[in-house]
Amino acid sequence: MTMAKAKQVRPAPAPSGARLRRRSAVERKKNRAAYLFVLPFVVLFAAMLFIPLVYAGYLSMFQVRIIGGESFIGVANYIRAFLDPRFLEGLLRMGVFLIVQVPIMLSLALVFALALDSGRVRGSRVLRLLIFVPFAVPGVIATLMWGYLYGNDFGPIAQVARALGFAPPDLLASGNILGSIMNIVTWSFVGYNMIIMYAALRSIPEELFEAADIDGAGQIRVAWSIKIPAIRPAILLTVIFSIIGTFQLFNEPSLLYRIAPDAIGVSFSPNFYAYNLAFISLDTNYAAAIAFLLGTVIATISYIIQHFANRSQRSEP
């Protein structure tokens, strides 16, 4: 229907010269407008994403010495990172986080979305907002708040434990801190993920349910074999975002570091480590290498997951 389509369909035999010229003039005008529309975004995109990325890559291959200044060292910073137990432990910790926290968070989000969508819960409109509200609380505030809640001084968890005659659990001890941070992240993001899934559930076409209606299939069967497959793209979106978010963990460790420095350490997450390297140890070149590596890890894992998801979708009957 559009001109572009019409042009593609009709191949060589040219219309009269004048018409062709007029049409291509219209095309040119349209193309020019299109480029102008994206230009402001593309300029800033290049300045704020592309150039820093290239610059990080450049920086990561140099080393600064007090005597001798800047010198090219190739991939030495990367080799150093691969042998650096602090970086590797941080990466591993985020791996554990990914395997434990992300499935818990997304399962909760999915179960809540399905429950609210089923129409069997009283007050579901209010509940939907209650579960979502933590997303509007900045990560910094959420961490401050949970930090107080976990704390021994006036935290209600410790108060309840003492009232019941238990010793209050030390939720900020090094053995518990990862779990405590997982709880903060879960609290903050279940609602956001739930809303994405819920929105997708609401827009499943009616026809998909008709067969189940005739079958008399139960709610759980319908959820499992119709609803969940139907909102696959939305679930994939939440998985990818969660992976990106997990590896970028920064706010929670950096704030809790102040109240529990020993449990957190300077390299709790790769991002926190890169920050400390750049701004405390002033080793920006090595920090750039860590940041670059971290970006590569995230992009690779996201790519693999997408690849898998697309493949298994195609192989379905």
Partner: protein, 302 residues
């Protein structure tokens, strides 16, 4: 009434959704869900209750119930007067950074998303794939090189250092592309062209009008991401008069935890935190109709 009739009545525009020929409420499910709801609300309730206590009550009374007297007003006064009303500056800064960034991000993302949906000149496919690929780049990984580049340009410790990087929202472009493709019929654009309207006028007068919920969604989420950002302002800004709330409150909390100066800071930090989360919660509640439908489009086509 047969079940099909029930369905066609309920299937009006905002999708009835779901499979529920028997719309029975379940007590068990309701109870479980409200229990879950309590988990999400209790911390905020605690924050609100703690804001009514002075330091003594904070340490001596139960956290989830009120103290011996109501000190909310005193706490609010102290939030806004400590260090010559620095908190107010942080609040204004936050609104400024988030507002300007979100406005710019929406404008750029809407123009680009609309163009990606409605035009197809050479190179657009590749360009769009690059933009989508960029969603995977962890922004915090770019913060350190950006800081170094900005400091070379003398931009660090200025509002621009926080605003410029926040203007780029690849996910916003993606969302606006999906939304434009959905909401604006090609025939309408074609008709406007026949009427002799220029491409920019078509976008401004025909396109923008139909993109309302999409724009509201991107605006709200861009506001949230700048409002909540901590890492970027933390590394970019040095002077506390330029801080947004997140960095300022974190600094105050560090001072109170270290016991520096007065103990009164605890209740000041807690009340300041409560005040800082109210604007966004209100914005989400007021605009819920828009962002929920905007997100639906993005999620479905994702």
């Amino acid at each position: 009434m047969t079940s099909t009739q029930v369905k066609s009545v309920a299937a009006n525009p905002p999708h009835r959704g779901g499979y529920s020929s028997e719309r029975r409420r379940s007590n068990l499910l309701t109870a479980l869900m409200w229990l879950a709801g309590a988990y999400f609300v209790l911390p905020i309730a605690w924050l609100a209750i703690a804001s009514t206590k002075d330091n003594e009550d904070l340490f001596t009374t139960f956290g989830l119930w009120f103290g011996t007297k109501n000190s909310l007003w005193e706490n609010l006064v102290s939030v806004f007067t400590v260090r010559d009303g620095l908190y107010l500056r942080w609040l204004v800064n936050t609104i400024l950074y988030a507002g300007v960034s979100a406005f710019g991000a929406v404008l750029l993302a809407t123009m680009a998303g609309y163009a990606f949906a409605k035009y197809n000149p050479p190179g657009f496919k590749l360009l769009f794939s690059i933009v989508i690929g960029a969603i995977m780049i962890p922004l915090t990984a770019l913060a350190i090189p950006t800081y170094l580049l900005f400091s070379g340009l003398g931009l660090t410790n200025t509002p621009l250092a926080v605003i410029l990087p926040s203007l780029v929202s690849p996910f916003g472009v993606y969302l606006m592309r999906v939304y434009s493709a959905d909401a604006i019929p090609d025939s309408l654009i074609e008709a406007a062209r026949v009427d002799g309207a220029g491409e920019f006028r078509i976008f401004w007068q025909v396109g923008l009008r139909m993109l309302g919920p999409g724009i509201a969604t991107v605006f709200l989420f861009a506001t949230v991401s700048t409002w909540n950002n901590y890492f970027l302002p933390l590394i970019m800004l040095n002077s506390s008069e330029l801080y947004p709330l997140t960095v300022g409150l974190a600094q105050q909390q560090a001072a109170s935890a270290a016991g520096g100066g007065s103990q009164a800071l605890f209740s000041t930090v807690i009340t300041g935190s409560l005040v800082s989360i109210i604007p966004l919660i209100v914005a989400f509640l007021v605009l819920q109709r828009y962002w929920q439908s905007g997100l639906a489009t993005g999620g479905v086509k994702g």
